[in-house]
Amino acid sequence: MIEVNNLVKSFKDNRVLNDVTIHCSPGKIYGIIGYNGSGKTVLFKCILGFLKPNSGEILVDGKRIGKELDMLTSAGAIIEEPSFLKNKTAYQNLLFLYRLRNKPNKNHIIKVLETVGLDPKLKRHVGKFSLGMKQRLAIAQAIMEDPEILILDEPMNGLDKNGIKQMRELFLKMKSKGKIILLASHNKEDIEVLCDEVYEMDKGVLTQIR
């Protein structure tokens, strides 16, 4: 359970989040739409613990981010454009990240890469990947530890039709497993198909529209 209560975040005099409140329960996908710069990414960064709110609180399973929890390390996330070690393969990147918290499990990494439609045997370095391939890899790193919470900022960026279909199925499958998914997207169709609740962010104000 994620509870964001009366969150305010300003950068100098610019108030980017204005009294934002949203409660998210397991087994649901929450969609957030809004123009560029409306505050969606800042909200996600606050939830993950990258940014410190000026006031308000974020509770995850009753634990406050920034107090009881340093960061939301149990979440899988994609924020802004995906970025990886450029001189490593997709497999090497995932293995490195996976081993930061888990025992190495090569078969698992291979399976995750296949799930997102990337060839585990591909020797090409990530620096030479297309945006779509990087996006698939970003989704792979977000889901590979089977996190209870997924925070996805524009996860369909750069994906082709087939990729979008694959990822929609993947997110719906994760929802059915009881995960909480927070999804920001410009694509109305993604929001329509995937989300149980839809919110609009406008100038830092979050309003439920469905």
Binding site: D70, M71, T73, A77, S83, L100
Partner: protein, 285 residues
């Protein structure tokens, strides 16, 4: 174990960065230039050089200045806010992540010093001999007028030959240089986190400029001044050598103690700050 794994992987993932390759290329080009007089002397004497020139090389004001400037250039990736770090910090948490970065900075500092040592040997090839002692060539050079006659680019000190074995002085120079580079890195990291990168770079450059000040201070005052300028301690080879009757550097134990304490203080400041900073990611370098 996870912490060690993360530190080691961070080191391996970054140590082949293009800036480190630039560092090696520039250092090597200058080493060829700096070793030329010594190699000419070696050819004239028909006697090879031993591999122990590195401590004396670091006593060259101009080489040391270049070495530090190149190292500051490498350090411009501080405070590690590149977007690629995002997925790592999310898995490690703030504290374990910064411990990994501090460990990486120490390994990087050590690597830069070690690379410079190896390059100093390679630049002398093929006129090099492997000998446990200092070797006749540089000892003769230190005792005769050969240094000025051949216009050596770095000095040899006879007192160093008496005070230290070659291995002792080499290990001491590597240790002190590593700690100096680590201190520069940590001081830059502190300033990046508390103020900004421009201030950090200016501070580091300012410290290197202090080398010039120490070099131009009256010999009577030089040791007092150098006590407060850690960057000049890389010239540890001259610790036993008085200049115009006055010693140049403080004692080795003073240098080591101050460097270690200063690094610990910087580490504490970094760890304290990391709990409260906000992560605004920037493009990868």
């Amino acid at each position: 174990m996870k912490q060690i794994y993360y530190t080691w992987r961070t080191y391996l993932n970054n140590i082949r960065h293009i800036r480190i390759i630039y560092f090696m290329i520039v250092i090597f080009i200058f080493l060829i230039r700096y070793n030329r007089p010594l190699l000419q002397y070696s050819a004239d004497m028909d006697y090879p050089v031993t591999i122990w020139v590195f401590p004396f090389l670091m006593s060259s004001f101009s080489f040391l200045t270049l070495f530090y400037f190149l190292f500051i250039y490498i350090n411009t990736d501080l405070p590690f806010m590149q977007r690629v770090q995002m997925y790592q910090i999310l898995r490690m948490g703030r504290k374990r992540w910064i411990f990994g970065q501090i460990g990486y900075l120490l390994l990087r500092s050590f690597t830069m010093v070690l690379l410079t040592f190896f390059l100093s040997v390679i630049a002398l090839l093929p006129h090099v001999e492997l000998e446990a002692g200092w070797g006749k060539l540089i000892q003769t050079a230190a005792l005769t007028g050969a240094q000025s006659e051949y216009d050596f680019q770095y000095p040899f000190f006879n007192e160093a030959f008496i005070e230290f074995t070659p291995l002792q002085l080499l290990l001491l120079t590597i240790s002190i240089c590593t700690l100096i580079l680590m201190l520069i890195s940590m001081a830059m990291l502190v300033l990046c986190l508390y103020i900004n990168r421009s201030v950090a770079v200016s501070f580091a450059v300012g410290n290197v400029v202090l080398l010039f000040m120490v070099n131009n201070t009256h010999p009577r005052m030089r040791m007092q001044v150098s006590k407060f300028v850690p960057v000049c301690w890389a010239e540890v080879a001259r610790v036993a050598t008085p200049a115009y009757g006055f010693y140049w550097l403080p004692s080795v134990s003073y240098m080591l103690t101050v460097l270690i304490i200063a690094i610990i203080i910087c580490s504490v400041l970094v760890v304290r700050k990391i709990n409260t900073i906000e992560f605004n990611w920037e493009d990868d370098l």
